[in-house]
């Protein structure tokens, strides 16, 4: 099995302002992100040879690649729509990368977007239309509240201790997000605010949940050997991992709800390709799927940043803060950007791309050379891990 390492480079990225974009259509957001990416790469739409679009929204079923071809007028080239739960944005980039790596295309565009704010519902929805009774009233907050309840139980955390640990993650991410002009939420919160927020799905309160936002993000990629033709500081793909579990782990015997094989397996694949042995030491920053604060806590353990059951100690020590040993969600994460599902994987990659280029403004880390982006989808059922670096080798 070959590795993807150093075969593909990102030469341009764009990201629209995330938020409650009442006055913007999906097309408006795609145009905003794509033209930023064209300018960043120094190319135009006529240079794009193939496109991959990631989006999950039900009302787009049946739209195929047209939802990308139409707004950007990318006519006459192959465009494929992909969907893989919350890893959808990553999947657009991952599949585009294979096409570029094999030499089929020199330049491809990967686009992810979601328009959540036109549904009239403040969340991803209830029931979700999968089975008429089996999943009735299943919500995303509940699926992740199961994890918090079980994690607290397994490691003997009282609800107060558990909720305080989670609140620290929310406070950290809001602090980072306050420094990002494209974030949906750009203000800091206090520990007290997080702890006293209304309960959404016990034990998760309002500030344990990410926002529901609209957004779009874009990457333009080429083969690694062509990258320097376009810019001096391309960002290279070092590893790509993807793993699936089951549609409904709720029914899976022995599923333990305190750690997820999908993240472990996806990161194992990506680490092997990238040659990473000790992720805590070898990764300079990570932007991970903090759909809920409990998710981020578990991710620390699943990605090998913290020992099993010990993430709380690292949270207390500030390990993952912007000035910590391994900064996580330097842009504010899903917590501040919300989770326009198809866009999220690419929005995370956008932050790492900028950090590795030294262009992250007030959030800029020193000497960041290798970054990881992680998405986790389903309940949880799917995970994608991407590792990027700013040099080959």
């Amino acid at each position: 099995m070959e590795s993807i390492r150093d075969k593909v480079a990102i030469i341009g990225m764009g990201c629209c302002k995330f938020g409650e974009n009442w006055d913007k259509s999906p097309e408006d957001m795609i145009i905003e992100a794509a033209y930023e990416a064209y300018e960043d790469a120094g190319i135009g739409p006529k240079d794009i040879q193939a496109g991959w679009l990631g989006t999950v929204s039900a009302h787009w079923i049946g739209m195929g690649g047209l939802a990308l071809a139409e707004p950007l007028k990318l006519q006459g080239i192959p465009i494929t729509r992909v969907e893989n739960w919350c890893a959808t944005g990553h999947e657009a980039l991952r599949n585009a990368s294979f096409a570029v790596a094999c030499g089929m295309y020199d330049i491809a565009i990967a686009v992810g977007f979601e328009k959540l704010k036109d549904t009239g519902f403040p969340g991803l929805g209830v029931g979700r239309g999968m089975h008429p009774t089996l999943e009735m009233r299943r919500t995303a907050p509940s699926s992740f509240a199961f994890i918090a309840t079980r994690y607290f139980h397994k490691y003997g955390l009282s609800p107060e201790q558990g909720k305080e640990t989670l609140a620290k993650i929310a406070v950290k991410n809001h602090k980072n997000g306050s420094m990002h002009p494209k974030a949906h939420f750009q203000r800091e919160i206090t520990l007290d605010q997080a702890l006293k927020a209304p309960i959404i799905a016990w034990p998760l309160g309002l500030f344990d949940c990410c926002g529901n936002s609209d957004g779009a993000a874009v990457a333009i990629i080429t083969r690694a050997e062509l990258a320097k033709k376009y810019r001096d500081d391309p960002i290279y793909i070092k590893g790509m991992g993807l793993s699936q579990n089951n549609m409904m782990p709720h029914f899976q015997p022995h599923f333990d709800w305190t750690g997820f094989d999908v993240t472990k397996n996806a990161s194992r694949q990506a680490y092997e390709q990238a040659g990473i042995k000790d992720p805590r030491k070898e990764i300079d920053l990570a932007v991970v799927h903090d759909c809920f604060t409990i998710t981020e806590l578990i991710i620390y353990e699943d990605l090998g940043f913290s020992p099993k059951g010990k993430a709380k100690e690292d949270v207390d020590a500030g390990t993952f803060a912007l000035d910590g040993e391994l900064p996580v969600n330097t842009d504010g994460g899903l917590k501040c950007f919300g989770h326009p599902v198809g866009a999220s994987g690419l929005r995370m990659s956008y932050e790492i791309y900028k950090q590795l280029q030294g262009k992250a403004g007030k959030r800029q880390l020193k000497n960041a050379e290798r970054g990881l982006a992680h998405t986790l989808g389903g309940h949880p059922s799917v995970s994608c891990v991407m590792v990027y670096g700013n040099s080959t080798g």
Partner: protein
């Protein structure tokens, strides 16, 4: 001798203090409490509870018939007893039949079961009756009516009470009714109703059966009279020569209310629970006529006393905090719009009924793993189609993890979402918890499964299993 072999009562756990109704309307309270079907219950699901209480421990393969009697069947056209037979895993070869349209439908079904067994056509016929009638808001009916279900198994051996005789009278009188256009029960002036409807017909049937059996009031240990309210049965019993202090069964109006078509059988069960071998019981129901029965309790009664009694069920209760919640439970007031995106499909429900209605999981023949819903390929060893079905809906379990969801909507938030680990091979069931106080939910809490109504999307009822704290 044909008689009752087993019984099962079901009173929903929810109660409404009648003072809450009267204070909401500024009317007079008749006092006490009424039972209320939870928001996820209807006559069918309550009848399922009674049925499963009744045939629990019996060889369900031996059941030859299942009747469902109600004036509040969820369907006007569709056989509810066939749904129930599926849910209870009864044989496909049984005779299912629905009885309706009359408060006498419960005893009509009972008499039909008696005749079916007597004639040799069918043996072991389960009669279920359930009701969930709506009194017009502010009416006295709204206070008096209660919700619940009862089931009895009629067979020709090992009976706990023989059915000595059955006697009926018919009489057309538009005293209490609902037309095909009505949601709420209507009635004519109560004095006329009681005199010319209830009292006259009950007297005729009871006198008739007593005379035919050569019985006098002192021969009867307990007289079980349906009663539209908390008083009328007393005058009737006295007029018939019974001692109202010792011989008459309490109609449970003050604690649960008038259960409609289910009332005669639930009161009969109450009487059986206190009966001694040799007791004679007189049962009479009313509705455009009257059905009367004489039963004689056998020695076998001593063997069934361990069942949950009606008295226990009355004691198991959760009080509704407000009257508007009752209105919401019965869909009598509009609630905020829900954003549930469901995909109701009759063919999906049909195709999945072995797990969705019966509550079956699959047990791998190679590695023994038990899974729910039924899995064709084993989670553990990936064997294909190497499984046997196991019924999980009658097994207890423990809460593995849970959430109290305020976003999920529903009639009474927060929705209690649980993942249950079954005592059957550790199978996991993702389900909603009902009949519970959300604040008391804990990891490790013992639960059992209960059959509930989910929604009516697609124009038909979608039923599935939930869990509840072990009762």
């Amino acid at each position: 001798m044909v008689g009752i072999k087993s019984y099962g009562a079901y009173i929903p756990v929810v109660r409404l203090n009648r003072d809450l109704i009267s204070s909401a309307w500024g009317t007079r309270s008749i006092g006490g409490e009424r039972s209320v079907a939870n928001y996820d219950q209807d006559s069918l699901t309550m009848a399922v509870e009674a049925l499963l209480n009744c045939v629990d421990g019996e060889d369900s393969e031996g059941v030859g018939g299942l009747f469902f009697a109600s004036t509040t069947s969820p369907y006007k056209e569709k056989c509810c007893s066939s749904i129930m037979a599926t849910v209870a895993d009864l044989s496909k070869e049984i005779w299912t039949s629905d009885f309706g349209n009359s408060l006498r439908s419960g005893t009509s079904a009972f008499r039909s079961a008696l005749n079916a067994v007597k004639s040799g056509d069918r043996n072991n016929v389960v009669v279920t009756s359930a009701d969930c009638r709506l009194g017009t808001p502010r009416s006295v009916d709204e206070q008096i009516f209660g919700d619940g279900a009862a089931a009895v198994l009629v067979g020709d051996s090992d009976v706990i009470a023989t059915i000595e005789d059955a006697y009926s009278v018919s009489d057309d009188i538009t005293d209490v009714w609902r037309t095909d256009q009505d949601t709420f029960v209507r009635s004519w002036e109560d004095r006329w109703v009681l005199t010319n409807g209830y009292t006259k017909n009950m007297k005729a049937a009871i006198s008739g059966i007593m005379k035919r059996q050569g019985l006098t009031p002192k021969d009867i240990a307990k007289v079980v009279l349906c009663s539209p309210d908390a008083r009328s049965y007393v005058g009737l019993a006295r007029a018939l020569g019974f001692d109202t202090k010792t011989q008459v069964q309490d109609p449970l109006i003050s604690t649960i209310g008038n259960l409609g078509a289910a009332q005669p059988l639930i009161l009969l069960i109450s009487a059986l629970e206190e009966a001694k071998p040799g007791d004679k019981i007189l049962l009479a129901s009313y509705g455009d006529g009257s059905d009367a029965f004489i039963l004689q309790v056998t020695d076998a009664i001593e063997g069934v006393k361990e069942k949950r009694s009606v008295k226990d069920s009355i004691g198991l209760k959760m009080m509704l905090s407000t009257y508007p919640k009752y209105l919401a439970f019965r869909d009598l007031v509009p609630l905020p719009q829900e954003f549930i995106k469901l995909f109701p499909s009759a063919s999906v429900m049909w195709r999945t009924q072995n797990w969705s209605l019966r509550g079956h999981g699959s047990k791998c023949k190679k590695c023994g793993l038990v899974s729910f819903p039924i899995q064709r390929v084993c989670f553990n060893c990936q064997s294909r189609d190497e499984f046997e079905e196991v019924r999980l809906s009658d097994k207890k379990g423990k809460v593995y993890t849970y959430s109290l969801d305020s976003l999920a909507g529903g009639v009474e938030p927060p929705t209690v979402q649980t993942i249950v680990e079954s005592e059957e091979g550790g199978a996991r069931l993702y389900c909603l918890m009902t009949d519970c106080n959300p604040e008391e939910v804990k990891v490790g809490m013992p639960v059992e499964m209960t059959f509930r109504r989910f929604h009516r999307e697609g124009g038909f009822y979608n039923y599935f299993w939930k869990c509840r704290p072990v009762r």
